[in-house]
């Protein structure tokens, strides 16, 4: 891997918000495409941050900071991006499910996604299934991220899945769940498409869905 890309990875890993723009600019000056900088540099850096969060070395504030670091770099990259690419920014709907009002995890996911070029439609907390599905129809968003902290509220995930089936758009959507009370078993039980344990996982999953289509 090129030294300049490794520098991007290190800068994100070290959460160095002051250095990120010049490091990214240096890659562009070397003729590396914005897409490659995102794929090889930024994504790899974020997944290292994700691993460090898992092992306790990084904490919530560090995840928020990682999102800020990447966001800082985005204007530099967007300037050089193919205009077709930027116009086709993928939309993601995020919501904390009905009955639950916890939003820290969802907000961190939103930050990481928007820093990575997604257009995030954040519907807030205690959001009904019908509002989520209506939003999907009116905005054309195909990706939905549902957050739930309270295990008492997991039934609201199924409500969203069922509402999308009723609206006849279930197979056009990818519904991803996350939050303290969720798991891959719960995803199966509720009929959702994927489960993400961390915000970095969520990024990887949503990117995977885009790549697959």
């Amino acid at each position: 891997m090129k030294e300049s890309i490794q520098q991007v990875i290190r800068t994100i890993d070290e959460l160095d918000i002051d250095a990120i723009c010049s490091v990214v600019q240096h890659c562009l000056d070397e003729g590396i495409s914005p897409e490659e900088i995102i794929e090889s540099g930024i994504s790899t850096g974020l997944s290292i941050v994700g691993d460090k969060f898992e092992s306790g070395q990084y904490f919530l504030a560090d995840l928020v900071m990682a999102g800020e670091v990447v966001r800082e770099a985005m204007p530099v990259l967007q300037e050089k991006m193919n205009p077709d690419m930027t116009a086709a920014r993928e939309r993601v709907i995020l919501a904390t499910v009905q009955g639950d009002i916890h939003e820290i995890g969802k907000n961190i996911v939103g930050l990481i996604l928007s820093a990575n070029g997604f257009e995030v439609i954040d519907l807030g907390v205690d959001v009904s299934a019908s509002k989520i599905i209506d939003t999907a129809r009116t905005t054309g968003a195909r990706l939905i991220g549902l957050s739930a902290l309270l295990s008492t509220m997991v039934g609201s995930i199924r409500d969203v899945v069922e509402a999308s089936a009723k609206a006849g758009i279930r197979n056009q959507l990818k519904i991803v769940i996350g939050g303290a009370c969720t798991s891959d078993d719960l995803r199966l039980e509720m009929g959702a498409d994927a489960y993400g344990e961390t915000a970095i996982d969520a990024l990887r999953i949503f990117k995977g869905f885009i790549a697959a289509t």
Partner: protein, 520 residues
């Protein structure tokens, strides 16, 4: 599902349980007062029993703890795979208790604090107010989840709700029967049983529907519980004995907090005071300059009660309950003066505080680099499965993830405290009294607790650790019939702040996770 018979020797008592039931759960259900201070992690060795019959091979943690003792198992590690006979060690069945002078016919009341994690029972001489510790044990409902939300969620299945009710009732009343028997006190001398606890625990005791408590906006169906007797719980020991139960304010502000409030009030504390009860659900109140009561709650998790930590345990034999620093390194105070098998909440607070003070843990909570520091004897850095740890000895360690767990607890309580002060328009500097409560089973080192920053600095206040105020309030209820009235009146004057949807909660919480000292 298949069922297997568990027979307890020498009594011969037997019962059938579903395949896969842990032997410790089966024994608890049968009323055997088994202690599981590490919460079923298989690290403390307290739940050892002799097992004969069909059983799975020993787990690695059993091998480590039991070594060469054939036939002995850690009952928290063994799921039922066939019929078994269990021999429970005598020391578990007959516990030594400090016997009060009871060569008289003075009446006694019983006080019970039902915590999400720990249950404590004491006996009170209603005339003099003298109290005696009877028993404490982990709440047997823990197998359905470690916090109130997971219990509420589990209770949405009717069978589980009934099982949880039966578990708490059986465990409390068999403990009471056992204790009175051991003390030679006739049940007729018990004139009342007082209960304190959070709203979910009290509802589960009384057989009330807990599901609304877990759904925003968390409505409560009852806030006081009068004219009940033991018979209403379906128990046969002392059926006519009245139940005296502390009132609750809301789903997350329970009888435990109201009890603490009434205790402070009785002691003449009427204004400029801050109180926090450090439980699995943290509850706090503030008395402002004009004496108005403001209260809120926060989810802290059971870390301070010794749970959810790699080597955590409750304050029982083998627990490191205090850590102090001496010239030759760290000194560990171990309960029962036996080799340590875990660390309690008070021990964890001491240890992290000392490590922070010396820079072995940075203010962000991350462990310092081994290259930069020399840990004091007997500590050493290590790593297991990619997670860094500070090893204490005897296989016990504090991991980086454990420190994060403590930070989540302290971030929640500090954020809740700051927002409560703000909403009440109080300055931390105006607070004159700070009271810390919690059922640690040991005294909390207040200086170490202050260093961790669970609550603001309150630099003009006197700080005091009150112990388990939930239990103390229940004891007071036994002796003073007017205490419940006082508690109810104060409850009605309390303004509740709901934090989860507070616009500033997120930023405040993330900032509050750091161990850095607040700028003064």
């Amino acid at each position: 599902m298949k069922g297997y018979t568990v027979t307890v020797k020498p009594s011969g008592k037997s019962q059938v349980f579903p395949e896969g039931t842990l032997i410790c759960d089966a024994l608890l259900d049968m009323g055997i007062p088994l202690k599981t201070p590490c919460g079923g992690k298989g690290t403390c060795g307290h739940c050892r029993v002799s097992v004969t019959g069909n059983q799975p091979p020993r787990t690695p943690s059993e091998e480590r703890i039991l070594r060469g003792t054939p036939g002995v198992r850690l009952s928290c590690q063994v799921p039922l795979t066939g019929d078994v006979e269990i021999r429970v060690e005598e020391r578990l069945r007959k516990k030594q208790r400090r016997v009060p002078h009871h060569g008289n016919d003075r009446p006694y009341g019983l006080a019970v604090d039902i915590g999400t994690t720990n249950v404590r029972i004491s006996m009170v001489e209603t005339g003099s107010g003298s109290s005696y510790h009877l028993d404490s044990f982990l709440n047997p409902q823990r197998r359905f989840g470690h916090d109130v939300i997971s219990r509420i969620s589990a209770a949405s299945s009717g069978d589980v709700l009934k099982t949880m009710q039966a578990l708490i009732r059986t465990s409390i009343f068999s403990s009471i029967a056992d204790s009175l028997d051991a003390l030679g006190i006739s049940p007729e001398r018990i004139t009342c049983i007082a209960f304190s606890g959070n709203t979910t625990m009290l509802y589960l005791l009384l057989g009330k529907d807990v599901s609304p408590l877990g759904t925003y906006p968390y409505p409560v169906s009852a806030r006081e519980f009068s004219s009940l007797t033991v018979r209403d719980l379906g128990e046969t020991l002392l059926p006519e004995t009245p139940l005296l139960i502390l009132p609750v304010l809301s789903a997350f502000l329970g009888g435990d907090l109201i009890g603490g409030l009434a205790l402070c009030h009785k002691n003449g504390i009427r204004k400029n005071a801050f109180f926090i009860d450090l439980g699995t659900n943290g509850e706090l109140f503030l008395l402002d300059q004009s004496g108005l009561v403001h209260a809120t709650s926060c989810a802290m998790g059971p870390a301070l009660e010794g749970m959810n930590l790699s080597w955590g345990m409750t304050a029982e034999d083998g627990a490191i309950v205090h850590v102090t620093q001496g010239a030759g390194g760290l000194f560990f105070e171990i309960m029962g003066e036996i080799p340590p098998s875990g660390i309690s909440g008070t021990g964890v607070i001491d240890l992290i505080s000392i490590l922070l003070e010396k820079g072995y843990i940075e203010e962000s909570g991350v462990f310092a680099s081994p290259a930069d520091v020399n840990l004091p004897s007997p500590l050493s850095f290590g790593e297991t499965d990619g997670i860094r740890e500070i090893r204490i000895g005897n296989g016990i360690a504090l991991t980086q993830v454990d420190v994060r767990t403590v930070q989540l607890a302290k971030g929640a309580s500090l954020a809740a405290s700051e927002l409560l002060l703000k909403e009440a328009r109080c300055s931390a500097d105006d607070i004159e009294h700070v009271f810390i409560a919690g059922s640690f089973g040991e005294n909390l080192n207040v200086e170490h607790f202050r260093r961790l920053g669970f609550i603001p600095e309150f630099k003009n206040a006197s700080w005091e650790f009150l112990g388990n105020t939930s239990l103390l309030a229940a004891q007071k209820v036994c002796c003073d019939p007017r205490f419940l009235e006082t508690a109810t009146r104060l409850r009605d004057r309390t303004r509740e702040l709901v934090l989860a949807n507070h616009p500033e909660f997120q930023d405040t919480f993330i900032r509050a996770l750091s161990f850095s000292r607040a700028p003064s």
